[in-house]
């Protein structure tokens, strides 16, 4: 079956790939672009491990048809740090023991970033709501909620 040419912005850089019909964005990012930060958890939209930002909006990359991001901007965890300097959210996750096995962390960081980008001073309830689509089986969520609140109190996370 013929492949489709696809161009989009990946963490601020233009990329061009060829995808098979029906390829999801998670497979395109991991296998064709080599960005391993979004994770495959369930493939059903239940866990949030594959969360990415598309034009600034939180989406599940495993349920996104790759072709639909043509000409759009896709941001993953790989793009939020600045060289060796961690993003304030990453720093807060490390300081607050918000990651244990780490598998859910990239998705939760993107969900938290989507929140702080539009609401720099969220309430605790708003943080809980923002990460409600992400499952963590290690931490019990409390350290994660505290980390997001800590990042918010440090100052507005970088856009």
């Amino acid at each position: 079956m013929a492949k489709t040419a696809l161009q989009f912005r990946h963490n601020g850089r233009d990329v061009a790939i060829f995808v098979d019909g029906g390829t999801n964005l998670l497979v395109a990012l991991r296998e064709l672009i080599g960005d391993m930060t979004p994770k495959f958890g369930c493939g059903q939209g239940g866990c949030g491990a594959c969360s990415v930002l598309i034009d600034g909006e939180l989406h599940l990359s495993c349920l996104t048809l790759a072709e639909t991001v043509a000409g759009r901007s896709v941001e993953t965890l790989d793009g939020i740090k600045d060289g060796p300097s961690l993003h304030p959210l990453q720093r807060a996750f490390a300081d607050n023991f918000a990651a244990q096995c780490g598998y859910c962390t990239p998705g939760i960081l993107m969900a938290a970033k989507a929140l702080l980008d539009r609401n720099p001073q969220p309430s605790r309830a708003e943080v809980v709501e923002a990460i409600s689509g992400n499952i963590c089986r290690c931490t019990g969520y409390e350290p994660i909620i505290n980390a997001v609140l800590a990042a918010a109190s440090v100052g507005r996370a970088r856009a």
Partner: protein, 272 residues
Amino acid sequence: MAVTVRTFASTGEAAAALSSDRGARYFGGGTLVMRALNEGDISISTIVRASDHALTRIDATGSRVTIGAGVTFARILAECGLSFLHAAARSIGGPAVRNMGTVGGNLFAATPYGDFTVALLALDAMVSVQGGLGSRDVPIEEFLQTRERQTGTLVLAVSFQKPASADAFRYRKIARIKPKGGAVITLAAHLPVSSGRIVGARIALGSMAPTQIRARAAERALEGRTLDGATISAAAAAAIEGTSPADNALASGWYRREIVGVHLRRLLSGQE
């Protein structure tokens, strides 16, 4: 397995492509069809998309509301004219699912999903569909009863009369995980009041039958009465009538039957 992706500018062309190919499925937000593809559903050989802007239009200015099938739950939540639907929209998925999932797709979501459709059923929505032969409006109840045969039709929009007051429309979803989780049961009630009495009550239930259904016996118990304790008790007792809930991982059918009256009572009496 690779599938063929066909994207059309107009809904007419998309509908024709859908109706002419048994293996074609319309692709909206992806939360149902991409999931099926990820799970290796080989019955889907072609996915059809339409970029027509009419599919993402909301008209909530007048007394009759029209919502394009491609409108996401995040868009519903951003629309102040649709505040009566915010509880239903917020009860679906996490933020990412609400940014993706659409009103039209929800009509096809099987138990324990399809919560928004419960709200639409209580609102007596009309579903605009386009088949190979043209477009028509189908009452939502009829649409749901023939849902299995609707895969070849394209849903364009849903429309319904706005409830007269905030109190006239109520919604409640029972889930084990808050704020996100599949439904144990879902309830919605539209209770128009005319000179103190309920006229044209509609109660809709999710997860109480293979598709979303109306609780007709409970509606009859409310009809023409004031919403007092005796009426609410009669409606709650009748809620179970005509239901056939299934067992699943979230709850047994027995449990669903036990609690549906309890939650209908709470919904009608305005309890949290």
